[in-house]
């Protein structure tokens, strides 16, 4: 009788490694990939280039040589460095950050499936849910890291190159330094949730294919299609369902008083996509043969 009870306990102990160690090793594994390092490096350099470009463009615009488009953006940026993180976060949310999220999702399952590493994991006595959770965690942390890098570097670059000690909002008043940082942190959190939603859908595709390129192409293709659909007025009944359609409302963080309706809606929409993405990924990975 004691033997019969003991046996399952032994297998359980063997299957469950400490969660902390698992997550740490997954993260270390992902971060050490050269493409991850290159991508994060590009994210860190881009704000500096943008800050220099903006400061040059502003000088040109003040001399009357810039086009109207440059002037409308530059007019707020000039001497207002804390607005740079907002512009850059919104700009990179349009394409760069979703692409990175999709890339890491593609590597997490499809990439490992391609090299055969996933087969070993599927055969091992590891819960599929647990496997997916560790993979999703790695993607989510890296996405957060990417957003934080953009935000922090552009805050520093903006303050150093463009100057300013408060944030001149779109509504024409100046927010104190602390509140400005709060607004940037809020935007960073909102952008992260959106990238998580894209990455979750990419993870579902990643679970269904052996080719990482398919994941990347279909996720980016999906974003482009969503953006196009969002620009067709005749389809306005469809717009509240599109993930990308809510992104424009994130720019509301630089209005004062801050309208929150659009942001709350964008988060709820992202959570729906997140739940759908993870559910489909779970469905696919739990039916996948070893």
């Amino acid at each position: 009788m004691t033997v019969a009870v003991d046996a399952p306990i032994v297998t359980e102990q063997r299957t469950k490694a400490p969660v902390g160690r698992l997550l740490r090793s997954e993260l270390r594994f992902m971060i050490r990939r050269p493409r991850t390092l290159v991508a994060l490096g590009v994210l860190a350099v881009a704000p500096v280039i943008a800050a220099i470009a903006m400061s040059v463009a502003t000088t040109t615009a003040q001399n009357g040589n810039g086009g109207p488009a440059v002037e409308s953006v530059a007019s707020l940026v000039s001497g207002n460095g804390l607005i740079l993180p907002v512009f850059l976060l919104l700009l990179s949310l349009a394409m760069l950050l979703p692409m990175l999220g999709a890339m890491w999702s593609a590597d997490a399952l499809a990439g490992e499936s391609q090299t055969g590493a996933l087969r070993g994991l599927l055969l091992a006595p590891v819960g599929r849910l647990r496997l997916l959770a560790v993979k999703a965690f790695g993607v989510a942390v890296l996405s957060l890291l990417a957003v934080v890098i953009v935000a922090v570097v552009s805050i520093v670059a903006g303050l150093a190159i463009l100057g300013g000690d408060g944030m001149l909002t779109m509504s024409g008043n100046v927010l104190p330094f602390g509140e400005s940082l709060g607004r940037i942190a809020l935007l960073a959190a909102l952008v992260t949730v959106q990238v998580w939603a894209v990455a979750a859908v990419a993870l579902a595709i990643s679970a269904a294919t052996d080719h990482p390129l398919v994941v990347l192409a279909s996720t980016l293709g999906g974003i482009i299609v969503f953006t196009i659909l969002g620009n067709i007025p005749a389809l306005d009944w469809l717009h509240p369902v599109l993930l990308t359609d809510a992104w424009e409302s994130l720019g509301d963080v630089i209005r004062d008083p801050m309208p929150t309706d659009g942001m709350v809606n964008s988060v709820l929409r992202a959570v729906c996509y997140l739940v759908i993405g993870y559910s489909l990924a779970l469905a696919r990975i739990s039916t996948k043969d070893g």
């Binding site: 779109m170 509504s171 309208p259």
Partner: protein
Amino acid sequence: MNSRKTALSFAAAGTAAGVVGLVVLATPAGAGEAPPALPPVSAEALVESVLNTDAIPALTGSVAVENNLGLPIPGMPASSGEGDSIQVWSDGTGKGRLALAGGRSETTIVDDGATVWVWDSAERSVTKVPHQGGVADKPVEGKFADPAAAAKELVTAMQQDSTVSVDGTARVAERPVYQLVLAPKPTEKTLLREIRVSVDSELRIPLQLEVLANGQSDPAVKVGFTEFSSGAQDPKLFQFTPPAGTTVSEKDVPEEMHGEAVDDWLSQADLKTVGRGWDIVATGKVPAEALTAAEGMSERGGQDMFALLGTFGKEVHGDFGTGYVISASVGTAVITEDGKVAVGAVPEQVVLDAVKTVR
């Protein structure tokens, strides 16, 4: 395997929950809600109570403008411009704030009681307009000094050509409203079907205005609150300090408006009205200089203006010469080659008759 089944049912439930969540988010709030039960009120009493509300109370809200005229109106966003919204604040003592949010810019107008500040984020500029004590407003206020009499007068005047009624209740911006409906009498020749004003049942201020044209199910023009809440507002909202590094320009708009140039223009325009009630048509003449100025720039410039009108409208000939008719769902305008103009919420024939009276 059992765990696989559990995982699959979890996944199915999660997917379903996500899809349902998206559908719920996409469903407009209050759709299919029964109209609120409110005590019945007569049209006269409703108009009286609206006139009785002397000042706009402290409130905040978003205003949406929908325009299905089939013609672009300058300064009025088309209904497709969903990114644009108007946010309003009022403190109840005459101070106000208006934020016109575009996709990447914002225009904020702050009235702090003494000065009106106009901030334009795209230009990063501030325009300052000092108050003129509201001289022009006084006579109108005097006329409405006795709301009961004014309401009676107003409703009687309206009843000559229209039927005024309270058409049940509805909800605007999640607030119960009475719907005051003004419809032209059948003898009227107007293109309009009705004008619908939604009056807040508690505060008695209009929350929404709809103009409906014949043969259109959607309102041609709809201006109203999509969000509304009354109550004290943060006094900081009604102050404005031009931020450092902005260009501040001062403008004296009221003086300019009543300036000689405008007066001259108005007397030259020879504005008159033809007809009455719903069939009223405004007629006038575009000053000769405006036409010659357009032609003076280049020979082709003047021709191009009429060519442009030709693409918008329809060419007509008659006693008045050659003209162009521009039709929208709520009205018709005609402009002739010698500068006569007639505009009204009426069919083409009525406008053409009116333009013949212009000398």
